[in-house]
Amino acid sequence: MLTGLVIVSFALPLAGALSSFVSASSDESIRITYGAYALGGLSALAAAIGSFVGPFAGALAPIQAFFFGIIGIGTFLASLYAIAYIPLYRESYASAWHASAFALFLIGMEAVVLSPSVLAFLIAWELMSISGYFLVISERTPDAFRAGVEYLVMTQLGFAAIASGMLLLAGGAPFATWQEVAASAAQLSGVARGVAFVLLLAGFGSKAGLVPLHQWLPKAHSQAPSHASALLSGVMLKVALFGFILSVSLFPGIPLALSALVIALGLLSAFFGALHAAVEDDLKRLLAWSSIENLGLIFSGVGAVVMLGALPQSPLVSAMAAGMVTFVILHTLNHALMKLSLFLSAGTIVAKTHTRDLDALGGLAAAWPVFSGVVLALSLAAAALPPFGTFFGEWAYLQALVLGLSAPLPASIAAALVLGIIGLVGGLAAFAFVKLFSTVFLGRARSEHAAHAVAGERPSLLLVVPPALGALALLGTGLFVLPLLSAQAPLSAHALFASTVLASGAAMNAWLVLVLLGGALLLAFLAARAFASERGARVTGTWDCGTPLTPRMEQTATGFAAPVRFFFRAIVLAEKEVTAEPVVATNPWIAKRRILWSVDSFWERYAYRPIAALVLRTARAMRRMQNGVVQAYLLFMFIALIIVLVIAAV
């Protein structure tokens, strides 16, 4: 039964892709193809749930079932959305090739999670990565190709790191199952294990967008079509996380220094992701930066779990580990839902306004009340505010850190600092999403595109329903999933309404929070109704101090982020260039002024470019040896041979 569902979840995408070759561009065929994908996603979700509860429980390992379920949810939402979205871009996306790349991408991700051995994992990983490349370049614009190349280079470097790390662990046996790999890893020397760990961290980290290997991610995720970005950001990053967790489980024990490295890289990514999300003015790039932030948080949580696992066990350590595990599980699920829904919403916005530039949007809330409500909920969820599940995930993290304050001295100071960092990251993330929502939906339309969209028809139902489902699910993760993770209550039906309890009495019950907030809101409504005058309301202009306001006077996303750019100017590296060109020769004050400003990447400036320059300089030096004289080449070979022989002899 469960096997059947899994097979169906593989077979339906294949069948859908094949059917798209018959006639790709008709609405009918798009519906059949992507409908099949969506059903495949549902059956993957059903298989995942079925392996947790019911007669077939335990068929998949819990971690496999969890990530398989996330892939299922992502496939379902994105494919459902694609049914309405692809007809809007018939020329570029409605091809059999796009449909096949999409299907192979889905199959690749599913296969990664289910792979039983090293080679199967690597093949599935490559299938996912390469088909991902074709999704990134779907638009076939120069920008898309550039982003695609960068994605491809990083993903292949990452693949090389993963392959060498895994083969090193497996002792060079490609067909080794995971148990065999773990057994062989136990035989390795500490240095070899350390090297393998760093390689795997670099490989999976580059896929998950960990700083400093993150540069490709905002470009690639923003260039892909929105239904694909949703999967790339919402699901593929989770597959990278799965790969990392899987490979961590293969090690017999991980030294503290290495788990501290994971935590440090995770927090660094969270900080850079949040900071860049706060200053970004491209809708989809902002979402991509936020993915870097969230994955950074999750990786730091995983690092903490690994570190706590290596410490001598005590009630404190196990309570902290429980909190961190709760965070990792809940936040992985939350982030998948949130990023899927936000990218799908971004797709709707872009499809209607034809721009991703936050500076050119605005005023959509009045025209699309329901859709704006959905995105408002998603933005609050992304800012980790109650009553959404994201808050409860971060709560578990913070609570674990409070417990960490009672650790011995250096660790407790570290916990205090991490609390501060998490606070800053959370604040910046909230800033980014408040900026996103208010510049897209509030105020007045700041460009003709946006004004056109405001005047035009509302987005069709199918463009709104998938993000709305995601928003509902985000409410549900707090209400239903959090109690399941309770440290005291095992997985059972009656535990549904119980609180999640961490040690020292810190408890959280999402239902109570919802009741409190809902009740207070109701109270406010009733009070206002009871006391308000009967004079009612009158619509007038906005207060303008006498100079009629135009949409161009409103604050743009760029302007909104100005304080953050200023306060973090040492890291954001924003540059402003003002040029003035006199209109009248006699009066220098009447001039056409242009402001050009850009945000440079800290890592590109201080790491990527210096490395690239070094490589180029080395290459230029090496070119002197390339003199075209055959004897010289033979001499080099001879010298190399002698060196090798000497080394072999020693």
């Binding site: 005023g363 809330a365 009045a366 704006s372 609050l380 800012a383 505010l385 109650p386 971060e394 709560w395 913070l398 609570q399 409070v402 304050l405 009672s406 001295l409 100071i413 205090a416 609390l419 501060g420 800053l424 604040g427 909230a430 800033f431 408040v434 900026k435 208010s438 509030l442 105020g443 007045r444 609180s499 020292s504 009495g505 810190a506 408890a507 019950n509 109570l512 929070v513 907030l517 207070a520 809101l521 406010a524 206002a528 308000a532 005058s533 004079r535 009612g536 309301a537 009158r538 619509v539 906005t542 207060w543 303008d544 306001l549 006077m553 409103e554 604050q555 302007g559 953050v564 306060f567």
Partner: protein, 317 residues
């Protein structure tokens, strides 16, 4: 949750609701007296609310449903905070609702909606107030987290109720005195979160220097009353929390009788009066800082909070 606790919570919430405008009035009175003026009566904020509720509303033409939802959301989140904050006493809430991070998050939710209100009008003043408010909220977060976490660690409980219970049963010199730097940081965070000096000028008429006021420029009548009331309530409940930590005396519990409750109420009024005096003194002596120097203020706040954490950690070990 027992009936007694429920009654206690509502009594406590109502007390805070009733006293909140008085705090604002008293701060203004203190400032007026220090300027050798008599100033408005301390009850003036009540009259202002009564007047505003009777007025018409003028709605800016380019606003959406968000503009109309904001006053309810802001007042609603502040009411939720008022119900949660242990002002007269502690012990009514379970650990979930009284959790420190939930308190921070609900406060942040209120700020976020206020920012939406400022952004939805399409007015440049509102927009500018909004981005400043959001920046301040983001920068205040680290110190706020650290302060509450330090208190939670010191008291051995992650709930506000539990923290207050600890301070109430510990001698003053062994409790409050140890966390003095942390409380100083809490005071600085309170000033920032409530748009007081030196972060914001609550009495300014100059739009360019406004933060909180700029966001509510376009609200009128009952909506304005709701927002003003919410900000008065927010100040009062932060003040109650701060003063209860500073002077953890006479706190009631749901199990205690009516007399203890009455004593708690009177003491709450006294504590809030002291808080108003403190804020009034600060506002008479300190100038508003330039907005673009705010990172100095928040870095200082964070370092004080961090020093407080280190002192508490060293004290315990």
């Amino acid at each position: 949750m027992s009936i007694a606790s429920l009654l206690f919570v509502f009594f406590q919430g109502l007390a805070l609701l009733a006293l909140a405008p008085l705090v604002t009035g008293m701060i203004r009175r203190v400032k007026a007296l220090l300027q050798n003026r008599r100033g408005a009566p301390v009850c003036q904020p009540y009259w202002t609310f009564a007047t505003l509720m009777r007025k018409e509303m003028t709605i800016p033409e380019h606003s959406s449903w968000v503009y109309r939802f904001v006053p309810f959301a802001v007042l609603g989140t502040t009411l939720a905070l008022a119900l949660v904050t242990p002002s007269i006493g502690f012990g009514a809430w379970g650990p979930s609702i009284s959790n420190i991070f939930l308190f921070v998050a609900i406060a942040a939710l209120g700020s976020v909606f206020l920012v939406f209100g400022g952004m939805d009008t399409g007015s440049t003043f509102g927009n500018m107030g909004s981005n400043r408010e959001m920046t301040l909220a983001a920068l205040a977060e680290p110190a706020f987290f650290l302060v509450l976490a330090t208190l939670a660690f010191f008291a051995g409980s992650a709930s506000l109720d539990g923290i207050l219970a600890f301070f109430a049963r510990t001698p003053w010199h062994a409790g409050t005195l140890v966390v003095a730097p942390t409380l100083l940081a809490l005071l600085l965070v309170t000033l920032a979160e409530n748009a007081r000096y030196p972060v914001d000028n609550p009495a300014t008429h100059l739009e360019l220097t406004m933060v909180h006021e700029a966001m509510i420029l376009e609200y009128s009548g009952p909506y304005l009353a709701m927002l003003e009331y919410a900000s008065a309530l927010r100040l009062a409940l932060f003040g109650a929390l701060f003063m209860n930590l500073l002077l953890p005396f006479g706190l009631a519990t749901p199990a205690a009788g009516a007399l203890a409750l009455l004593v708690g109420l009177v003491l709450l009024a006294v504590k809030l009066a002291l808080f108003a005096l403190l804020v009034g003194l600060i506002e008479s002596l300190v100038v508003k800082m330039r907005f673009y120097r705010m990172q100095e203020y928040f870095t200082l706040t964070f370092f004080i909070a961090f020093a407080g954490a280190v002192i508490v950690l060293a004290h315990i070990l």
